[in-house]
Amino acid sequence: MKRTLIVLLTATVGVTAVGLMASEDRDDDAYHPASRYEEHGQGGGDGLFARLFRDDEDTWPERAWLTDDRRTLYQDECGDCHVAYPPGLLPSVSWQATMASLDNHFGENAELDPGTRAQIQDFLGDHAASPGNGDYAERMWRATRGMAAPLRITETDYFVGQHHEIPLNMVTGNPEVRSFSRCEACHAGAAGGDFDEHDVRIAGHGKWDD
């Protein structure tokens, strides 16, 4: 009887411990997204239970943009100077504003012939952050609703919320990274929409662990 009780007690404590380890941490910062999109994820670490329970929320569940024929054009024309940012990172109005001002694209001239420009604009619009384009795109849409057509992904609430813990000496003060707009410096899968927080390697500093 006593042994049974001890076993039951140990099991209860064990299960509770597992449950606590696998549960979400709520960070007290100014940005409080809807609970479903909790930025610090489930599970916390790389342990067995974390891997079992965590939600891979930082890769695109919706893959249509990756197999869209126009994506090659987008990469060719818009990937020469920077990573061709996944369209789901900004709402359609932002892409429209960007494509309408290519002659002064963040201080550069990135003009395109009208036909190419139109095709790329359509591609971006079709896969932009919006309620209909899958989990991630919807999240970005939700995060940018309060802003008037943000042009910089790095200025969106969602982006800031995801990166506010990174010391600036690892990014803007780091000659191998230099800017938050250089996603690929820390996210090897950025071009394909893979920003999994567990695969972050900051150039010059190594793996980033939350």
Partner: protein, 133 residues
Amino acid sequence: MMKHLIALATMVAVFQSAPLLADAGKELLAEYATITSGPFDAERGRQLWLQENPSPDGPPRTCASCHTEDPRQPGAHPVTGKNIAPLAPAANPERLRDRREIEKWLGRNCKWTLGRACTAREKGDVLTYLLSL
């Protein structure tokens, strides 16, 4: 015997590919020549390459800002850090093979560097300079 065969095959391959070197660039040169008067000049092209032009923000702008003073060297975008392969076909046989690419970049980069579109003469001079390296 095998070594000679390989050497011969290589020479044949190189000889066959030589006419393709910078083919689009040469084609455009011929077109620019019909619009301008007088021959193009590689030295003028080089000076245009190095010329410092006023900038609305930041340091003076030149072709060298991204491509370095020697087009045979790799360059980098000063803001994004993106690597830029050498522009001289002699250093990079991929260059000046796509007409659309040449026109696109001359369009963008003349406007950024000089603040206006390049004239046909200027484009011809720069291409001639790149081909002379």
